[in-house]
Amino acid sequence: MGVVLEASEIVKNYEISNGFYILEVFSPDIARSSAPGQFIMINLSHLHNDPLLPRAYSMARRTTETLVFIYRVVGRGTGLLSEKRPGDRVHVWGPLGNGFTITDRKAVLIGGGTGAAPLIDLSEEMSRRGMDHTLVCGGRTAGDLKFMDEFSDVVKYSAYTEDGSLGEKGFVTDYISNGNVGAEAAIYSCGPMGMLRRVSELAAEKGAECQISIETPMACGLGTCLGCAVPKRNSKGYYKACTDGPVFDSKEVVI
């Protein structure tokens, strides 16, 4: 179907906890044609010029008619987004990017913060295919993972919190270092850069396959601005996060 550009209606947009929000937009065409790990661009200020650039969001769930996102209010863009009400329209385009490649290996999904979003979608897809897999999500504190409850009908997960208020105490990457993941595994991960670096290192140590979804600055999402460059590890030059990624084999990029 290709990329769809439309003014989509917001169905839901509400705070869960600690500035984490759930956003649901009506977009059957994108919902139908997308896959886990893909993303869309949302322009919050169509023709208003400030904040100028669209923002990228990974789908956390795709129903038959809608797309569900998880975001955290951290700046002007998300501040504006949090003020949108059901019935408001936002300009969106997608699906964009490559998404995850599901392999036969034992799947371990590692998410940090809102990085859990594409992994929820991936977990749901794996369940649909009858694939055994483990989803592990990390946050600072229990409230930072409250959004996971919204998806509890379809995804089961283990929690890691830095303060121990939910699940295991520690970092989500401890799940890998504590001997739960070996060379037979395929890791699928999304989260802050520091976390992805650690996940990549640990995957290399264990000899596990590892796909990481990377967030870079983006202006277009379509491959034209070249603002989303990700350095190649094995040769000179850059990948484009928006069209070659956002999901990369951790051995092929420098992050």
Binding site: L5, L53, A219, G223, T224, L226, G227, V230, Y238
Partner: protein, 310 residues
């Protein structure tokens, strides 16, 4: 429908709205979302003699009503452009203008020669105004003598439409405009980005890896309108307006200032259908005011009679 086709010298374009260099890739990326029949031309990303990797990250940052970029002219080089991309791009049915970049006069000439020999493009736009590279670019565009030299050298090897893209960093816009015209340019395009800077006050690091980056978007518009006005008054070749155009009204403003056509850049990022909406909006503007053709309003600004500075 009002007639929005335009003539830039001998070059006839179906619409006055072109996609600006660096904001439309090589033309293939917007096929799903945009009606290409509404485009006057596609100006490609800058093409150089050798492939260029581009600058390190971060390369872009949002600023009030604008953005800074320092891409560093990442491109696959002219050979790959001609061999791999052009065969696809020419199938789009839209006139192609190739943005040409070099570090030396010789490089500009060699790229232009290769583009000329393809027989598949409508024109070249000389990028003598890129602020994000160490050699070339703005070094040519800010200096009338060097601009004359490079324009003349390229003119000698091509009969394609030759557009020279001006930099807002030239001290006297009239001087560079005249230099380009006298050297044989068929049109001028104005403007490229102007260097800006943004700093993270927590880390005290610039938000762009190369410290400064080119400012584009609506924040640039009043500066660009002024330069188009100045340039169009000092030459008799057509001027193409660029800088912060995101609506038809923005485009009309440039045309009234003296632009014969426009290029849309950053707005392609914020609204992938921008070029189409702007072309449609221009037609509506003309119809609503019973203006038969766009050229009737080019340069029609009515400056105050005693406008000269005292």
């Amino acid at each position: 429908m009002a007639d929005i086709s335009v003539k830039l010298g001998a070059l006839e374009l179906p619409s006055p709205v072109m996609a600006a260099s660096g904001t439309f890739g090589f033309g293939l990326e917007y096929r799903d979302v945009l009606d290409y029949n509404k485009l006057g031309a596609i100006v490609t990303k800058g093409v150089s003699l050798k492939p260029r990797e581009g600058n390190p990250m971060p390369r872009i940052v949002e600023t009030p009503c604008g953005m800074l970029n320092s891409i560093g002219l990442q491109n696959p080089g002219v050979e790959s452009f001609v061999g791999d991309l052009l065969p696809q791009v020419k199938g789009l049915g839209v006139p192609i203008i190739v943005n040409v970049f070099g570090e030396t006069v010789e490089e500009y000439v060699r790229v232009a020669e290769m583009i000329q020999s393809t027989g598949a493009v409508a024109g070249v736009e000389l990028n003598v105004s890129c602020p994000n590279v160490k050699c070339g670019g703005i070094h040519f565009g800010a200096n009338p003598e060097m601009l004359h030299e490079v324009t003349k050298a390229v003119r000698e090897v091509t009969d394609l439409h030759l557009m020279v893209k001006l930099s807002p960093e030239a001290a006297v816009i009239e001087a560079v405009s005249n230099a380009a015209e006298q050297a044989g340019a068929d049109s001028l395009s104005a403007i490229n980005t102007i260097r800006g800077m943004s700093i993270n006050i927590e880390t005290r690091k610039p938000r762009i890896a190369t410290t400064t980056g080119g400012l584009s978007g609506p924040a640039l518009k009043p500066l660009a309108v002024r330069m188009v006005w100045e340039a169009s008054r000092s030459v008799s070749i057509p001027v193409v307006g660029i800088g912060g155009i995101s609506t038809a009204m923005d485009a009309i403003e440039f045309i009234i200032a003296g632009a014969s056509a426009v290029q849309v850049g950053t707005a392609n990022y914020t609204n992938p259908r921008a070029c189409e909406e702007i072309a449609d909006g221009i037609a509506v503007y003309l119809e609503e005011r019973d203006i038969p053709k766009l050229s009737d309003i080019v340069g029609s600004v009515e400056v105050y009679e005693d406008y000269t500075l005292k």
